[in-house]
Assembly symmetry: C2
Homo-oligomer: 474 residues x 2
């Protein structure tokens, strides 16, 4: 069912209050990756906890223990678990968001102070660190609850919240918490579906629902030889050089057209049928959108479907760099003693880090043997994550599609993201229910970048969308 | 003719004075590459100038102008030109050395304070920055002159000196000075041969004379695409990636066995005949010497002659690193926007930077075209230098061979160095005379490294050798 018209009107009428709420949140520099800001992340947890309690949510701050960072033992910021409604006849929906942010300082190139929300009346932009990632969406939920609380309206669903303060730093402690709370008697018992608002539209025009994420297998291959760096004048052509061998191996992983050359890795993935291709063809996204965001005419194909599938449903392999080689400016005639090439493979179902790992290792070892070098090889996987794809015809997605139609007057793009949001998989696997990614912001919001913004329209319409989704999913 | 026995005895008798002289020189941190030490280089020039005047040398401090370094305009340290003797019936010998040093600080891993000469009685090592490169050899000449001056003995030759303070920083200003002074009426007019003492024995046992140096052609190849670094999750397999293209090119330059794959580059070099191979076979240097100095069993061949020719008379190509890629520790999922591969080719006659340059550019451009990428390619040569080979049967070398026999009781190894000493070519080309490289230190002295040392025996025998060379060359 659609949301009550009074709710929608209330959002418009309270725009300034909601923006002030976002400004208050942005003002707390809750940078989880900066040890010196840890108290601000904890302060942010308390602030958000008070906001939730003030709109009638029963909350609990969950202590997640400590972590070692920069040589210190630091308390992890607590996760906030919240609940409203215990009606057995209603669906139970779990919403997730995070209240920590990426680092930011004016010296990075921001036009304004990153921890002061600046309202640009001309463009409608609300500029500040965390505005879009992810304080705006989290406060969207608070805004929704405020109307219900003030007007003594029951929610159409039982709501459960999980808000964390370590998302930008590997979600330390969250997997264990979700695992514990997913068990019978846990906080998440009875959850029927999950809604995560922490990603973006493909573009600046069309709302999106996201049903897939690529996984990752990140490798470091180290080639070593001499006991120390050597001078190329003295040793050039007398010894085996690790860089020569490493570059030879790195050159055999992927071709210029993006095809992965490791036998078996691409073969794991099914060919898209015509029905699936139609989804990509229908997306409001073009080659020129991609080239605009890359800043150059460098798309791998002129076929939009191919390029979108390259991002969303094909694996990819990128060479990131080399540790231990000469990386400065100028000319240095060194033969580096030990060099580590970094590359990663973005995975799609049914690929997993476990499935591709033996293929990667076998191939690299075989190719290295062919070099007949006396250098030594070591292969390490630095980290990995499984890909995720949800059923986008599930009632959870259908509710979001109807809600999008009601608020925006158009159907959402059905997208898969090229990157990963690990918590998605955590919820999907721990709870065994459908997970919906319901973004609030636009593709150009610049999360993790300078001048991060959330458009005022997205904040207000997004608040309405989150509320409407709860009615439609009920 | 051999040197007077009194001279040889004087060197032994004055060992402590000579070591004190070296200690005084080492105590001045004349680091030419560090703007904040420029006054120390100038102080060192004045100190050395006074030493030379005190032993009867007529000197002139030659102003070399200024240079831009780290955004400042700095005065270049003056070069010291010196002369003794104007006898038309004597040969005129020019000796060269440098009084600047490489940077050094205890925190680099030195066991002792680098600018305090430490005398290790157990090993006979004189440890300190510049002890071997090149203050020891320069003071060797001063020691020789001291005996002649104190005993009112005329030198057997007319001596000219050229001591500079910018050798470790590209010998700024020296080429022009040598060019000017080589002309009729210049300071170097009438020079019959040059002796440079600024390199090392092959090993720790056998003196050496050096008659060849490899040249260099250093390249930076830049591949670019996106306007900024991209996230591999969002862009992996949607755009051409500069790293993929750069690595493909770098992987086609040299094979693991050290063979240069750029067509035509190796073909320029003649095959060694049996006579030439005998020189390499006769050198007091083994595969295990090479592997010991590299710190690992990684020689390209088990054939000593092949390995020595690899260093001395074959060209080599080394891949040094990549600028602009991810080079830190850990895992970063970046698609770098612009990456520059650095590599250099060591050249041997008749190769020159000019001859190989079109071959390098054509090949890289051809291979890049084959990639069918939309990335952009730029090829730059950062710097270069011609190789040098002298006639090792010239009277200048014959004199040094006799002098070596007289002081060390063995014939010197006749070596070619794999690296370059650009000033050698400057003198050879400007003066058109034979240049001899007559090293004082051992192969393990660690010039440019931590714990640089000169063995006391090499300092004293080396002083005798320089003096004896003057008598033999006369
Ligand atoms: Zn986020
Ligand atoms: Zn984020
Ligand atoms: Zn030197
Ligand atoms: Zn040096």
């Amino acid at each position: 069912m659609p949301a009550p018209p009074e709710f929608l009107k209330y959002v418009d009428d309270n725009a300034n209050n909601f923006i002030q709420r976002l400004a208050d949140a942005v003002a707390i520099p809750s940078i989880s990756g900066d040890a010196s800001r840890r108290q601000d992340v904890i302060k942010m947890a308390n602030w958000l906890n008070n906001q939730l309690k003030a709109v009638g949510v029963t909350t609990e701050l969950k202590d997640l223990g400590t972590e070692q960072i920069e040589g210190q033992t630091l308390p992890l910021p607590p996760a906030i678990l919240g609940r409203i409604g215990e009606d057995k006849n209603k669906k139970t929906i779990l919403v997730y968001g995070h209240f920590d942010v990426q680092p930011a300082s004016k010296s990075d190139g921001w036009d304004t102070e990153p921890f002061t929300l600046v309202r640009d009346e001309a463009t409608g932009r609300l500029v500040g660190r965390g505005s879009s990632d992810d304080k705006g969406p989290v406060l969207g939920w608070v805004n929704v609850l405020q109307w219900h609380y003030e007007n003594k309206k029951e929610l159409p669903v039982n709501l459960r919240c999980c808000f964390e303060g370590m998302e930008e730093s590997g979600s330390e402690g969250l997997d264990e918490l979700v695992g514990r709370e997913s068990k019978p008697g846990g906080w998440f018992e009875g959850v029927d579906a999950v809604c995560i608002s922490d990603n973006y539209w493909l573009n600046t025009r069309t709302p999106a629902l996201t049903y897939g994420l690529r996984g990752l297998a990140y490798y470091k291959i180290t080639v070593s030889g001499p006991a120390r760096d050597l001078h190329s004048g003295v040793f050039g052509r007398t010894v085996y050089e690790p860089m020569t061998d490493l570059i030879a191996i790195m050159g055999k992983l992927v071709d210029s057209q993006g095809r992965i050359l490791i036998p078996g890795v691409e073969d794991l993935v099914s060919i898209a049928d015509e029905d699936e291709k139609k989804i990509y063809a229908s997306l409001d996204y073009s080659i020129s959108d991609i080239e605009e965001s890359a800043g150059a005419p460098i798309a791998l194909s002129s076929d939009k479907v191919e390029v979108l599938m390259g991002r969303m449903r094909y694996p990819s392999l990128s060479l990131h760099g080399i540790e231990g080689a000469f990386s400065g400016v100028g000319a240095k005639t060194v033969i580096p003693a030990k060099v580590s090439g970094k590359f990663s493979i973005r995975l799609v179902p049914p690929q997993t880090p476990k499935l591709v790992d033996p293929l990667v290792r076998q191939y690299i070892q075989d190719e290295f043997s062919k070099l007949k070098t006396k250098s030594k090889l070591e292969i390490e996987d630095l980290h990995g994550g499984k890909p995720w794809v949800a059923d986008h015809n599930h009632w959870n997605f259908e509710a979001a599609k109807r809600a999008t139609w009601e608020i925006y007057g158009k159907l959402p793009d059905l997208t898969r993201e090229g990157g990963s949001i690990p918590v998605t998989l955590t919820f999907a696997e721990s709870l065994g229910v459908n997970v919906l990614l319901l973004p609030m912001g636009r593709g150009d919001d610049g999360a993790h970048s300078t001048n991060e913004k959330l458009d005022k329209a997205n904040y207000l319409q997004g608040t309405k969308l989150l509320g409407t989704y709860l009615y439609e999913v009920a």
